[in-house]
């Protein structure tokens, strides 16, 4: 299964809906998308992972890379994820402490902390 990306802007926030498998094969596509957005001046990103079927460390690495980029511009990168098997991967790598993880896109786009 491949990676599906769809992006929409809500005010200064940009929501990236991700579906499918984020792995060593598809992660470059996601990275490109994040880099493009930052280059376009979009520094507040919400990555909606509800339709993600598979996530590996390459995917984590791309998200961490995205976070570094937006932080260089005082931006934010928030995740939307309620799938236990995906959350587990953030948990075992300690990344739940690095990323704000939200229950819904609404919650993420309205968060200000």
């Amino acid at each position: 299964m491949d990676l599906y990306l769809s992006t929409r802007h809500e005010g200064d926030r940009t929501v990236i809906e991700v579906g499918g498998e984020i792995d060593v094969y598809t992660a470059p596509k996601l990275r490109e998308q994040l880099v493009d957005l930052v280059n376009q001046g979009r520094y507040h990103l919400v990555v909606d992972m509800e339709a993600v079927d598979f996530l590996d460390s390459t995917g984590l690495g791309v998200l961490v890379g995205g976070l570094k980029r937006v932080r260089a511009h005082d931006g934010s990168l928030r995740l939307v994820c309620t799938q236990e098997r995906i959350l587990k991967i953030f948990r075992i790598t300690g990344l739940t402490k690095v990323f704000p993880i939200h229950q819904s896109v609404e919650e993420a786009t309205s968060a200000t902390d």
């Binding site: 498998e21 792995d23 060593v24 094969y25 992660a27 470059p28 990275r31 598979f54 590996d56 460390s57 390459t58 984590l60 690495g61 791309v62 961490v64 890379g65 570094k68 980029r69 260089a72 098997r85 991967i89 948990r91 075992i92 790598t93 300690g94």
Partner: protein, 167 residues
């Protein structure tokens, strides 16, 4: 670790008489998917319970991604080897690379990936990722052994099976 011993370090050596299944592939990201697919099919057939199949998929994928990452920059012509042990009390998988302490020297830092022009310094094939992969493996798999052997590195993993097909 008990179930792992029998396999020895066969995966790292030339495979002479595999009585299970072994997969060799050029170090390309797409082949990691092939390895995942094979791992899950064999695990299911070996009797690994359904609730553990996601773990097998992710773990074998991580080990293979890591080996692919290690090979890509310094040994792109050498294949990665995955060995699935024949049915037994555990479902055992070994993933071998030729870079970790092996015949092909590992680069000091993995920073010379093919994706030059990166500003933020995150390289998808660099050290960060290799470490993140190991972190995922360590957090995920209880029966895990990461070893450096003369021929390179081997990651050995095992999972319990419910109904060994053969005894």
């Amino acid at each position: 670790m008990t179930g792992v011993e029998a396999a020895g370090s066969a995966a790292a050596e030339e495979e002479q008489a595999p009585d299970g299944v072994s997969l060799r592939f050029a170090p390309l990201p797409e082949h990691v998917r092939t390895a995942r697919l094979v791992a899950v099919a064999l695990a299911r057939r070996a009797g690994v319970e359904d609730g553990l199949l996601d773990e097998v998929r992710l773990a074998v994928g991580e080990a293979c991604s890591r080996a692919v990452g290690l090979h890509r920059s310094v040994a792109p012509g050498e294949p990665v080897l995955v060995r699935f042990a024949p049915p037994g009390e555990r479902f055992r998988v070994e993933v071998a690379d030729l870079v970790t302490g092996g015949p092909v020297p590992k680069q000091e830092d993995g920073g010379e990936g093919e994706s030059g022009g990166e500003s933020a310094g995150f390289d998808p094939h660099g050290g960060t990722e290799v470490d993140m992969g190991l972190a995922v493996l360590r957090g995920l798999v209880d029966d895990l052994e990461v070893e450096t052997v003369p021929a390179g590195g081997v990651i050995r993993m095992g999972w319990p099976v419910q109904h060994p097909d053969y005894s």
